[in-house]
């Protein structure tokens, strides 16, 4: 056998986070039947250990950068950044889930195992250097997410959410695959660097229209996963119907990973035709911001509102992708990290507030939270202010870097329209704050217990991170800047 295909130990090290996650997830599956009812949260703690081990694994892998398994994987700063981000979102989601699962009497090892598998899939995605690996990673992450979205299988909203996510997700994946098939046919390779090489060589490169068409088909798949217009339609329904911690997870983790492959494919493989896809992304970014922000104005359900807000924020990140510059990539990475914190934080409050069966998910139900639980309300306000982009919060610098990158790339109109959009967005976030502080307490807050320890930990950690990123953005931005793709 050809010697270059025999995996070396260093290859396994580069693959360490995924391996560790798989080992722990499998362990949890095995231990699940051996764990008594009511003790299942211990498996969750094991999952937490697994995530921390995976973070350590990612650090070890980052110390040994390079490709692995005949160029299938590429461990670079970019991959490491998103590996950390995925794992981090996993940790935060896990901490929210303890209380949720206990409350819904649905604690089981499978939930934790699926969460770990999904994160493993995201880690594969973000470090993939091959369209095959991207596809498989994407599917691992997605299939686990489909199940998580429908985790409470006796809940009609969960069912519908899972069904919509699954059917539409597979539908969009088929488009992605079709695009991959074409790009393979045109370039004869599925390796990103090789594709870029062929596409940039004008003598070899075939018709630009065909390349554009395959880029378009792949765009459908990626745009769907990041909920970019006009492929954002699924997101509100799915996020609204899924269990609250899962919605938090879906809108932060898989979305960030999807952005990672979006960036990698478009900035590596399709860079030679950037002039063409830039126009499409321009329009898509604008439409995404508009749809997200204006539809969010209409919502009375807070989960749905956060879903539209997540669409709007995807629009801001798309502005950064549109620049296809290193600084834009770094801005997108920073924004995704900042968004992960504030978003999971906001969903943690929803998880806490909704109570059993997610009864209280209307904005009006939050009335009087400012008096009843001032700390929770204050923390939620921090997240909302960060969503708005008020200075000293992470959201401000996120937007600042993105629009700066856009201006550097001469996207003046997109910047102006994006800023206008973020001005509109202030209305609906503000409304939540107004309801919390300035409305008479409703009966929905009367029997509210104080948040469970896990949720409190998430709230404090996310708020601290939101503020720290707002005051010392350089810490993350330097990392992102060094890791950003050229």
């Amino acid at each position: 056998m050809d010697a270059r295909f025999i995996p070396e130990p260093v290859h396994l090290i580069r693959f360490a986070p995924e391996l560790l996650l798989t080992v722990f997830a499998t362990l949890i599956m095995v231990l699940d039947p051996l764990t008594k009812e009511g003790e299942k949260h211990r498996l969750g703690i094991l999952a937490l250990v697994g995530l921390l081990a995976a973070a350590w694994g990612a650090a070890v892998a980052a110390a040994n950068p390079g490709t692995a398994f005949s160029d299938m994987l590429l461990v670079d700063g970019f991959a490491t950044f998103f590996r950390y981000l995925s794992i981090l979102v996993g940790v935060l989601t896990l901490a929210c889930s303890f209380a949720y699962l206990k409350r819904e009497q649905a604690d089981s090892g499978e939930y934790y195992a699926l969460l770990l598998f999904s994160i493993a899939g995201q880690c594969v995605m973000v470090s993939a250097n091959e369209l095959i690996m991207i596809f498989i990673g994407l599917e691992i992450s997605s299939i686990a997410s489909y199940v998580l979205a429908g985790y409470l299988r006796d809940d009609k909203r969960n069912n519908e959410s899972a069904l919509k996510y699954f059917l539409l997700g597979s539908f969009a994946t088929a488009f992605l695959l079709y695009g991959i098939a074409w790009i393979y046919g045109i370039t004869g390779s599925t390796n990103l660097a090789e594709i870029q090489r062929v596409l940039s060589n004008r003598d070899i490169a075939p018709s630009v229209n065909l390349i554009g068409a395959s880029a378009a088909l792949m765009f459908v798949g990626f745009a769907f996963k990041v909920s970019a217009a006009p492929f954002q339609v699924w997101a509100p329904d799915v996020y609204q119907g899924a269990p609250a911690p899962v919605s938090a997870f879906l809108s932060a983790g898989p979305k960030a990973a999807a952005f990672a492959i979006f960036l990698r494919v478009y900035i590596t493989a399709f860079e030679p035709i950037a002039d063409q896809w830039q126009a499409v992304l321009w329009a898509s970014a604008l439409a995404t911001m508009i749809v997200g922000n204006f539809a969010a104005l209409l919502q009375s359900n807070i989960k749905r509102l956060l879903a539209y807000s997540s669409i709007a924020h995807a629009g801001y990140v798309l502005v950064a992708v549109t620049t296809h510059s290193q600084i834009g990539t770094a801005a997108a990475m920073f924004y995704l990290a900042a968004y992960a914190f504030m978003n999971v934080g906001a969903f943690a409050v929803v998880t806490h507030f909704a109570r059993q069966g997610e009864r209280y998910v209307n904005i009006e139900d939050l009335a009087g939270l400012g008096q009843r639980q001032p700390v929770t309300a204050a923390l939620l306000s921090i997240f909302l202010l960060s969503f708005i982009g008020v200075p000293l919060t992470a959201g401000f610098f996120g937007k600042f870097y993105i629009f700066k990158a856009a201006l550097d790339a001469n996207l003046v109109w997109l910047t102006v329209l994006g800023l206008l959009n973020s001005a509109v967005a202030a209305y609906y976030y503000l409304r939540i704050i107004v309801v919390m502080y300035f409305h008479e307490p409703s009966e929905s807050v009367a029997d509210l217990q104080s948040p469970a320890p896990g949720i409190q930990a998430v709230l404090w950690a996310s708020a601290a991170a939101t503020l720290i990123l707002g005051v010392f953005p350089s810490w993350v931005l330097d990392f992102a800047g060094k890791a950003a793709l050229k």
Binding site: P7, E110, F117, I140, V147, A213
Partner: protein
């Protein structure tokens, strides 16, 4: 000979595909899909994809479609009722679809570099040996990672379909 085989089986594939779309009863659609798959298996053979033709029959037509048929029987799914809730789908879906096919057909016809003719037997790498060699060397990692995928599928099916929590 190649041309005739192609035309026959392409016709079968398209015919069965159309049937899938127009049939009201899911079981008819499922059987049509099996027909498409079988026809495609022959076309794979023509293209020199021996291993894939076999896998297509065994995995796709054999395993996956049996699962489908089984589910249809289990749920006792009858003919679908006529509803007109999906107004948008009716108004825009079909024109969009026609546009899609025309567009892709157009792109292929006019833009793909003048393609060679497919002659059976000129490409013989697609045997189990050829595929296996690649699969266990270059594509070792994705192959191993798909095991994870299957594991998740089993786990997911168990989570969703078992009797009580």
């Amino acid at each position: 000979m190649d041309a005739i085989l192609f035309l026959i089986f392409a016709a079968i594939a398209v015919g069965c595909g159309v049937n899938l779309v127009v049939q009201r009863h899911p079981i008819s659609s499922a059987l049509s899909l099996v027909g498409v798959m079988a026809a495609l298996a022959v076309l794979y053979l023509l293209l020199g994809a021996e291993f894939m033709a076999a896998a297509q029959m065994i995995v796709y037509a054999g395993a996956i479609m049996v699962l489908f048929v089984f589910t249809i029987m289990l749920l006792n799914a009858g003919s679908e009722r006529k509803t007109d809730k999906a107004l948008f789908a009716r108004l825009f879906g079909v024109p969009a679809l026609i546009g899609f096919i025309v567009l892709i057909g157009f792109l292929i016809r006019t833009l793909l570099p003048k393609t060679e003719n497919v002659v059976f037997g000129t490409f013989t790498e697609g045997t189990a040996r050829g595929v296996g060699l690649k699969l266990f060397t270059e594509y070792l990692l994705p192959f191993e990672v798909t095991s994870l995928l299957i594991l998740i599928a089993i786990l997911g099916a168990v989570v969703l379909a078992r009797k009580e929590i």
